[in-house]
């Protein structure tokens, strides 16, 4: 079968319709300039009004984001603790790159990110595609899959602490009942700690499912009708139409899960505290630990790197997935 053709976007979008009540310019007058100047003459001080209406948002954004971020960046160049402060230039960054614990945290964060990209998102997309076929009970399943997303991460972590407990946890009891080794301390065994922590969230794809299902619902029926006419099977339709058209949604999901793994803190803090021997330590948790140890400047240097990694993730995924460009 030939690949069904995707409806191409129009070369040019139709011009926006005039707003209700807008007065069309007289045919003789130059279109744009004249209209703007007339608008201004009718509503003097409009520019000032817009500026004033933006002011609260700008003030809040500056107060709660720009200024703190600036403080983090500036103090990352200092040796800063509760009782001392001294600018040390890029010393914190130099120390970071020589710090084995930092590299462990970076490695673990990268592994969590890989788990999110290669397991969490594919699982979510697969489930979303299946549920979009409107199989029996799909609404209930969608709700069930989304449930973990509305439960606090800390509460879930506490549940998993009990689940993994080597003495009375459900996992070991089940393994023991099956005649397998039911004594392992999953969260504090150096070999199993990282996968055990990742397993607590990597299959929680509710958000991915919801976003992808919404995108699938937005694909025009005509596209599928055309494929049907061409004799495409359900698998071929999914492979050649649905999945390529999910590019935007998958890209957004990737950005979300990657940023989540960069900031991943609560679960690992509660379950393992970053141990054993830093096997589950993430960059966010390491920054927190350094803050708790009163190395505030060092902690902020880790924070600055996290912001940098986040920006790289956003730019890279946006470009790779051409997020924002429509296919239909």
């Amino acid at each position: 079968m030939t690949r069904p053709q995707v409806i191409a976007p129009p070369a040019q979008r139709p011009a926006a319709l005039p707003a209700t009540g807008d007065v069309s310019p007289p045919p003789s007058s130059p279109p744009r300039r004249r209209r703007t100047s007339r608008l201004e003459s009718f509503t003097p001080g409009l520019g000032r009004g817009i500026a004033l209406s933006l002011l609260p948002a700008v003030a809040l954004f500056s107060t709660f984001f720009v200024v703190p971020l600036g403080v983090v960046v500036v103090t990352s160049l200092s040796d800063w603790g509760p009782l001392d402060f001294a600018f040390t230039g890029f010393e914190n960054y130099r120390l970071l790159f020589q710090d084995d614990v930092f590299w462990s945290a970076l490695r673990n964060t990268a592994l969590f990110a890989a788990a999110a990209v290669f397991i969490q998102v594919p699982v979510g997309v697969t489930i979303a595609v299946i549920l979009s076929q409107h199989i029996r009970g799909w609404r209930i399943l969608r709700t069930l899959y989304f449930l973990p997303n509305i439960v606090s991460g800390a509460a879930l972590a506490l549940v998993y602490v009990t689940f993994y407990n080597p003495r009375y946890g459900l996992l070991n009891q089940a393994l023991g009942a099956l005649g397998l080794d039911g004594t392992r301390d999953w969260l504090f065994d150096v070999d199993t700690a990282l996968p055990a922590v990742a397993a607590t969230w990597v299959f929680t794809s509710g958000l991915v499912i919801i976003l992808v299902m919404a995108e699938i619902a937005a694909i025009p029926d005509e596209v599928y009708d055309a494929a049907k006419v061409d004799g495409a099977s359900r698998w071929e339709t999914t492979r050649h139409i649905t999945l390529p058209l999910l590019r935007n949604a998958i890209g957004v999901c990737l950005i979300l899960v990657l940023l989540y793994t960069l900031a991943y803190f609560d679960g690992v803090y509660i379950m393992t505290g970053g141990g054993p021997a830093n096997r589950t330590l993430t960059l966010s948790l390491y920054a927190f630990q350094e803050y708790s140890n009163s190395n505030w400047g060092y902690a902020n240097a880790i924070g600055v790197l996290l912001v940098g990694f986040g920006l790289i993730v956003i730019v890279a995924v946006r470009r790779l997935f051409r997020i924002g460009e429509r296919d239909f």
């Binding site: 603790g81 509760p82 009782l83 602490v161 407990n165 080597p166 003495r167 004594t183 301390d185 969260l187 504090f188 065994d189 150096v190 393992t272 505290g273 970053g274 141990g275 054993p276 021997a277 830093n278 096997r279 330590l281 630990q289 708790s292 140890n293 009163s294 190395n295």
Partner: protein
């Protein structure tokens, strides 16, 4: 237009509210002036609770202490409680360090001695050394009461409120089931008891990977020659891997785990992991302080309380203290009045009765008073003079980074992922880095 009217009305209400609060604020100022005119000195206290929810005996004791002081000194001094509840030890340490930096320390607060000494570096704390010399106040304390709260230059940065002995609780019924007649007095005896208890299907020792585990580490170090000195001073310096006493103790503690003498979930750093099996009657022993007695009573555990094998006892003299950021003479005078009130015989006895925690003073209770005290912990405290070794708990001489590193590295070390030297080097690095 209607919207504008509503906005104007809201603004007017806002102005009224601000004005109103200003009026009330003025009222406060007036009452403050009245107090000042009457000569009442008001001091703030972040360790004084306003309410004591639940069954926390320490909250109950401090609330009653504050009320009793305010009643006793009515019209002269008054404590204004500004309770602060930290999330954890590290949070508390940073809170007071920040307060020192911003010159907002309360007139009264409590924290661990290591934190108090750290905050003292700011120069914002009251030095009690000269005040203790007045009126023979210092003589009312035991000799070692100020050991942890005194710096190298002899300045005293806090007044201790308790001095406790920390031993090992054991479940008499489980010991009997395993055929053990009495608590082992040697480390070899403890290993034999461990085997007997395991054979009887009992978890010999409850540990948590942090507090309780480190208590046993301190016992293993402190009962060796030179161990007490290390726990008193050397532990704050690092270099543990070079100390044979520490290396041997660490190996022995690991052996307790690898021999299966410890609960399987002993690595989380969560105290409840140790407390739960002991209070459930599954584990036979746990190291902890007298503050655990109310839990034992609630769990109806028939427990004995003994010194460590090797004839040792952890004694915690003034590891936490009441410190003060009072700025003027009047406030300092009120603070000293409170400290003297708190450490009076009457209040120390009341504290022991309410909390099960004992006094750092020279108070000698009468036979009738002693009879009312909790027998397990009081008898153990009496044994402090009879044991061969007394020493501090490792945790009180080390910064937060030590605990973080311990919780992190201990499971990997026990599993054989790290050598003893590497484990101790990781602890040393953490301590030296934070210093």
């Amino acid at each position: 237009m209607r919207l504008m009217t509503r906005a104007a009305a809201a603004a007017a209400l806002g102005v009224l509210a601000v004005g109103g609060s200003g009026c009330f604020g003025g009222g406060d100022e007036d009452s403050g002036e009245t107090s000042a005119q009457q000569g009442e000195v008001v001091i703030t206290c972040e360790a004084c609770p306003i309410t004591a929810p639940g069954n926390d005996p320490f909250l109950k004791y401090r609330k009653e202490l504050t009320e009793a002081f305010n009643a006793e000194y009515k019209g002269r001094y008054r404590i204004e409680p500004k309770p602060y509840t930290p999330a954890n030890d590290a949070d508390s340490a940073q809170h007071y360090q920040r307060a020192a930096t911003t010159d907002t320390l309360p007139d009264l607060f409590t924290d661990q001695a290591t934190v108090v000494r750290d905050v003292a570096r700011s120069g914002k704390l009251v030095d009690f050394a000269p005040l203790l010399e007045q009126d023979g106040w210092k003589a009312t304390f035991q000799d070692d009461a100020f050991l942890s709260l005194t710096d190298d230059e002899g300045r005293v940065w806090g007044i201790p409120e308790q001095r406790d002995a920390v031993g090992i609780y054991y479940n008499k019924a489980l010991f009997e089931r395993a055929g053990i007649d009495e608590f082992p007095t040697t480390w070899d005896g403890l290993l034999s008891a461990c085997t007997a208890l395991k054979d009887a299907g009992v978890i010999p020792f409850a540990m948590d990977g942090d507090w309780v585990t480190q208590l046993m580490w301190a016992n293993l170090i402190g009962t060796q020659d030179g161990g007490a000195d290390f726990l008193q001073g050397g532990i704050a310096e690092g270099g543990y891997a070079d100390n044979p006493v520490v290396v041997q103790a660490t190996d022995q503690l690991k052996q307790l785990h690898t021999d299966g003498c410890v609960n399987e979930d002993a690595f989380s750093g969560d105290y409840n992991r140790a407390a739960a099996p002991f209070l459930d009657g599954q584990a036979a022993m746990i190291a902890n302080g007298p503050w655990m007695v109310p839990d034992l009573e609630k769990a109806k555990i028939d427990a004995g309380y003994a010194p460590s094998p090797g004839s040792g006892l952890i004694v915690i003299p003034g590891e936490a203290g009441w410190a003060s950021g009072a700025k003027d003479d009047a406030e300092r005078e009120a603070v000293v009045a409170f400290m003297k009130f708190m450490t009076s015989d009457e209040q120390m006895l009341r504290k022991a009765l309410v909390t099960g925690s004992y006094w750092p003073t020279t108070f000698e209770p009468s036979a009738a008073q002693a009879k009312k005290l909790e027998p397990l912990s009081y008898e153990l405290l009496q044994q402090a003079d009879a044991v061969t070794h007394t020493y501090r708990h490792a945790k009180f001489a080390t910064p937060q980074a030590f605990t973080t590193a311990w919780i992190n590295q201990w499971p990997a070390y026990v599993q054989g992922d790290l050598s003893t030297e590497d484990f101790l080097a990781a602890l040393s690095d953490a301590v030296q880095r934070q210093r």
